[in-house]
């Protein structure tokens, strides 16, 4: 089984730490964990594309969509993880949404898809 390199964009440090642990337990390598849209974009522009991404939607008042856009351009699969039930997701309606608190089973299935892609 190949090791999936996954990045996380999440502004709540405690939640990010948990997702990092969960991904680690599932045999993923957390290639980057970012608390701001800007730092995630900067990382993406000078690193090889990861195998997948877990994106919170509202990052300290900023929408994560520029990161989602960049990932889609590079063909990287990703999921949203959000506590908002009804955030607008213009252009990303087909992307899977993991609810918060995060169901580890649902995250595992997302990771399987990252590996398959």
């Amino acid at each position: 089984m190949k090791t999936a390199r996954v990045i996380i964009v999440e502004d709540e440090a405690l939640v990010a730490m948990m997702v990092e642990d969960m991904l680690g337990d599932m045999g993923c390598e957390v290639a980057g964990s970012f608390g701001a849209v800007e730092t995630a974009l900067a990382w993406l522009s000078d690193h090889p594309p990861p195998d997948g991404a877990v994106l919170d939607v509202n990052i300290g008042g900023e929408m994560v969509f520029p990161v989602a856009e960049r990932l889609r351009e590079r063909g990287v699969p990703f999921v949203f993880a959000t506590g908002y039930g009804d955030l607008p997701r213009a252009g990303f309606e087909s992307v899977e949404v993991l609810a918060k608190p995060i169901n580890a089973g649902a995250l595992r299935m997302a990771v399987e898809r990252f590996r398959a892609a």
């Binding site: 502004d11 709540e12 440090a13 405690l14 939640v15 990010a16 730490m17 948990m18 642990d21 969960m22 964990s33 608390g35 701001a36 730092t39 300290g60 008042g61 506590g83 908002y84 039930g85 009804d86 609810a99 918060k100 608190p101 995060i102």
Partner: protein
Amino acid sequence: MQELDANHSIGEAEAGLTTLIELIESLSATRTIEEVADVVRSAARRILKADGVAFVMRDKEQCWYVNEDAIGPLWKGKRFPMDQCVAGRAMMTGRVVVCPDIYADSDVPHDAYRPTFVKSLVVAPVRPRDPLAAIGVYWARPQDPSPEVLQKLQVIARATASALESGRLNDYLAASLEHGHFLLRELDHRVKNTLAIVQSLTRQTLRTTPSPDAFAEVFESRILALSHAHELLTRHAWGRPQLEEILRRALTTFSDDAAARFAISGPAVAFNAETAVSVHMTIHELLANAARHGALSTPGGHVAIDWNVDETTVPALLTLTWREQGGPSLAGPPSRRGFGSKMVHQGLARDLGGQAVLDFQPTGLVFTLRAPLSERMGLAA
């Protein structure tokens, strides 16, 4: 005895009464100020046989000409200072203003009337005790309004007052309902986010405690710290709590003699709601560590917490130092990195886009945080 058909033909005097009743019925169906203005302007002109009617609202210190129905343009959409307009005078005094010949009356601002057809007028305030609107009635020739016209205008004004009040109530109810829905959605989000934090605390505590008893003790203290953080946020209505407040709230739970154990100094720095929770949890972990292994584990130990903001850099930079002294001497960094040090390194520092250093000096732990000011953390006014 005479019985009349409900649709019995009526004379001219009753015809006026019927239109008045119809006006009142139409007003009772209105829900907004615009609808009220629309009903009043056309019905009043017909009932009072006037050449023009204007519906004027009071908007703080201004008269706002909301709508009109007239043989020529009046002042629709315009605003005038209350004290420079006849409608304003009617609203300020709460009395009906009658002017049989405006150009013979020096109290009328003639310049405003010259572009119009108006030669005589009557203006009635709506709700005389605390006027919120006025109805202006205009004629193209000088004339004394009949007592009947004045009476009917006052009936119209009273019907308008009750329509406006129920309309306002309706607006108010609609606005508060909408606000209630907004708060519910926001609450739903915050509860889920907080549950995600609790989920994280559960997993992190589980993997770093050796026994169920140890888990229960550590987990409960973390949940309590989270609860204190929320208490502080509620007090600020999810606004921006300050560092010193967060510190004092956290310290009192660890030590009865906080004043003797802690020395705190620094400028007023405030955090947004999410970051405030991270700050609180980080301080909790530092305190818990100090109570188990550091300065708070011995009677004479104390902690100096100070911070400053360097505004000569762009963005300005916060440096915070937590320095423990008087505790047992330390042999160096602990062999195992627990949740606390992870929270300190990857938690708050990550949130703020800064860096944290834990230095296990022999005299005690020194924690240093350097982070740029941002939307999440700023100098408080």
